[in-house]
Assembly symmetry: C2
Homo-oligomer: 428 residues x 2
Amino acid sequence: MTFPDFHHEADYLSFLEARSALPAGFRAAVSRIAFTPQERPTLEPYRMNLALLCADEPVESFGGVFTRNAFPGAPVILGRERLAEPVVQGVLVNNKIANVRAATGLEDARRLTAALGERLGLPAERLFSVSTGIIGWTLPVAEIEGAIPSLCDGLHRGSALDVAQAIMTTDGFPKVRRVEIGGGSILGIVKGAGMIEPNMATMLAFVLTDVAIRREAARRALAQAVRESFNAITVDGDMSTSDMALLLSSGRVAGVAEDDFVQALARLCGLLAQDVVRNGEGAGHVLQLTVSGLQTDELARGVAKAVANSPLVKTAVYGNDPNVGRLLSAVGDYLGSAGLSVDPRLITIRVGEETVFAEGAFRIDREKEVRLSDYLKSAAMNPRVTGYPQHQRSVEIAIDCGMGRADARVWGSDLSDQYVHENADYRT
Amino acid sequence: MTFPDFHHEADYLSFLEARSALPAGFRAAVSRIAFTPQERPTLEPYRMNLALLCADEPVESFGGVFTRNAFPGAPVILGRERLAEPVVQGVLVNNKIANVRAATGLEDARRLTAALGERLGLPAERLFSVSTGIIGWTLPVAEIEGAIPSLCDGLHRGSALDVAQAIMTTDGFPKVRRVEIGGGSILGIVKGAGMIEPNMATMLAFVLTDVAIRREAARRALAQAVRESFNAITVDGDMSTSDMALLLSSGRVAGVAEDDFVQALARLCGLLAQDVVRNGEGAGHVLQLTVSGLQTDELARGVAKAVANSPLVKTAVYGNDPNVGRLLSAVGDYLGSAGLSVDPRLITIRVGEETVFAEGAFRIDREKEVRLSDYLKSAAMNPRVTGYPQHQRSVEIAIDCGMGRADARVWGSDLSDQYVHENADYRT
């Protein structure tokens, strides 16, 4: 499932619609409510989407990976509890309010799983309550409860595109990827656009498969896939209170070799992670940072993230300005702060096909500046275009530090004025 | 020297002009050149300002603090060498190009000190060559050399406002502070607006005094003052290749108790540091983060900087949106990443006079939201107004973690779309 360039939202949506079939044994539904927040005076009611993913039978093989934020939201606290259950069966998701540290947050989450369980004829303990949106506000529990009957009545098979759309917050477009494996498939639906940094900040990922796999193998596979995908992307350095990735297997299709499943899941999550970066709030470019030649993976990852997170690097890329001095400065900032003394003659920096720093000095001239600027322009996206990914190109930056054998790769986005606009009054 | 609110650039400049007298024994001059950069094709020549600070006699009591970036510019390498000299006497400063890792950078810096020394009748070793601006480009050495005679001819006493103006890059206004001590004074001139993070990124500070002080005492005083001022501010998390703070004493006025000097210098640098934050590229608010109740100063400082650097916190403040959930999320991100488990019931967060989080839950309601938004508006600056500081108010955020006795204070700025505009094509 590779993507062509898109020029219209409708083309993207029909492309996705045809490629987002729920695996056997799962149904989905969405609904919408209106409410007035307890915490803010409003003239117009707020809108909230609800989504439901539901397995036909109890699922024994499931797993979850959660944020490391010290103040996780109620959905994360509840989700961690659910990992100990013998079986689970469904996930209720709302956008708009993240249900983090409101006075009645955990109680509200439990109440919703109880109400949903009653309607579906299931124990509450088989259900997840997942929320994304504003931190600190209280869920409109009564309004959500009121919508549960119609939500359950709407459960359907076929495409899960409606769920991918319903769980969006500042996302510019829905994100779904699907891989086929053995006689079945793995479907991934992801939500996330800002606050993307290690550990999946403000990111929700729901992965459903009909391929049989043992619970422990599923959990190992999910942990590895998250490490190499969602934990290798960075948009703005924040890690949210609400991130999670859930995996459920209906087991309807005969299993495959565990390694094959691990690889397929990692590939799926890698594609979803890059979708999230490309969809970063107001992103004008996707950056792929490859850092090699350091003593440890941790150091390589640290340098890569430092460069990818540098606001000065990000704003220069946004402006298609090949201000390569800022790359060296960001590397030097990180290594210097880590107390390392480094011989600049060992460092090589490449942007696309161009070497811009080698043997201790910058290698730039007027012609190369023009080529670099053209390269940045060729990978640019219009950050004001939303609704579909315009293309799949990235700005590739490779930094070799010449001091060891460890390397790391991360993906990030640039920093546009559109990002600031979106986050300056996110809650309106 | 406290500042009133200003409404016109002319008022600010005449206020500053009257309060920026060079201490006894120092002269200053500025000049301007045009050049075509080696690295970029241009239709119009670039403009570069030159500034010269010069003591009448050799200065035995001087000190310098430099960036910890692993790839320091030639001025930093040369400046560190100069610390071992028995005496120094002058500082040549240029803006526009930072002289970092150009192939001939160190050679260029030495050539400029030689040319200047020849004109002034001094050994090159008594002179600093200091540069700020674009990283990676080559200094127009011939053009600078050509301007040295007229620069030296222009040496004058009285106000150093012209120097504060000449060394600006993206600075919105010149920054000078002066304190009187004993029978003399300490004058501080600072340049810096973006890339401000610990260790004075892209910040140049020149501190001149006529108060006699021994060299070692001067160096101790400078180190302490920098730690509590320039190293406690953060605008965007980058630490540049070029930062430095230099202190020179002409010794013309009888000395004071060392403690008094230390305190006066720290006060001066604190004021200059806040000037830099207030002048952050496109800053719409100054944030003062006070974090208390942690086990170590390092942890407290880490939390304070994490919150001050969170793009989501910064953009919310820019929008006068009291999205206090992002404060807790940023604290939790830092503490969670540090591997600490924290009881949320111990955390208290205050914004201005309002408690927004206590006893494990957010404390917000519709009326408080309105008051918080009004508070943010009252501290807002128009980021498009440049030329003068509009007022001296800050957004005060206090976070008590309830787990220890260590605390820290940092100053930062919000993140406006204007910041992105300025940095997206800084080099044009």
